[in-house]
Subunit: 209 residues, 2 copies
């Protein structure tokens, strides 16, 4: 039989995914997992820490996929910069495919970004991914200053997060072809935004600063 700690994590993942974080009580988790209430606090400390662990276990494969895709891209590009659309797809597709696999859980992930409650623990796990992709984008977008690029990736994350947790009105499920199309829409939009002329060129800086 699986040990208590793992059984809690499995059950929490399922329930958080199905119902959301706030709507799931620890008592429901322990009932379905067949463990004692205090076991959660013994193994995880608090409900929020438990969420951390659940999210991290889900996020790790996504980030691994992202890095592998980027590796392939950079190998294919030889020494030069990789194409922007390809970089974006390498970053976005692994997350968006999870929408199809488990809509509720993706909603939770997107929500966490939106709520700004992505905790220090989880943030660390995204550091490598963030650095690699920022570097790749910087090489592909030499017209942007570092600070401008940081803002634009911020907007990119926002667009992705909002897509993870809700769909535009009139759209139903995102499966198969629909998902691919939606991903392409997002890639198109964001690459358009990234390619826009820099807003902080020296001339403007002087005028405003």
């Amino acid at each position: 039989m699986i040990d208590t700690k793992t059984r809690i994590l499995d059950t929490a993942e399922r329930l958080f995914g199905d119902q959301g974080y706030g709507a799931t009580s620890l008592r429901q988790i322990i009932t379905e997992a067949g463990v004692n209430l205090a076991a959660i606090h013994y193994h995880y400390g608090s409900k929020e820490e438990l969420l951390d662990q659940v999210v991290m276990r889900k996020a790790d494969p996504v980030n691994r996929e992202r890095l592998e895709a980027l590796d392939r891209l950079e190998a294919a590009a030889g020494g030069g910069p990789a194409p922007i659309e390809a970089i974006l797809e390498a970053f976005l597709a692994p997350a968006l495919t999870r929408v199809a696999a488990n809509p509720e859980f993706s909603k939770l992930m997107g929500r966490m970004l939106g709520e700004g409650l992505m905790p220090s623990l989880a943030r660390k796990h995204f550091r490598t991914v963030a650095n690699r992709f920022t570097t790749a984008l910087a090489r592909a977008l030499p017209h942007l200053s570092a600070v401008e690029l940081r803002w634009r990736t911020h907007f990119l994350i926002g667009a992705m997060a909002h897509m993870l947790c809700s769909k535009p009105e009139g759209n139903s499920a995102l499966e198969g072809v629909e998902l691919q199309r939606a991903t392409r829409r997002l890639v198109t939009f964001v690459s358009g935004g990234l390619r826009a002329p820099a807003a902080d060129d020296p001339k403007t800086e002087v005028k405003l600063g």
Copy 2:
């Protein structure tokens, strides 16, 4: 003395803004407002309804500003479409200036979008704004189909919401000139995304549909 109903609303607004929705208890609100616990349920029915009212009272002036700005734009444009950047600024600037005025409350507004807990009541109040701006954007972006435009405005909302509730790393306060610059960055990014060639041109539609 202000009546009970208003005093509850004022106090709730301040506390939700300072601490967030989840972290604020009704008992804290009634203590600081000097009213009875049941008065909240008498006047507002539930905590969530109270949030609705708080948000709506804040959102209404923002939306009025937006519509007035759009009115001016369309008057200036005569019969033709208004410039994309101007439309975007009319929509985004009124919301973003609130970031400077009350960072915590803006965080809450952004969070609500992200959490998808924007309730039916509040959603209704954004309908007029959404329709007017969607129409204006559709005229300025004739190369986009209705469905493509809906997706792109969805991404636009995501970028805005994420900016409302968090700033890119390394940035401190958004005041005065910094705020104007950040607004311009967002306008630039989004207009780039909106202008990108349509991803759902007929050829692709036929192939996928």
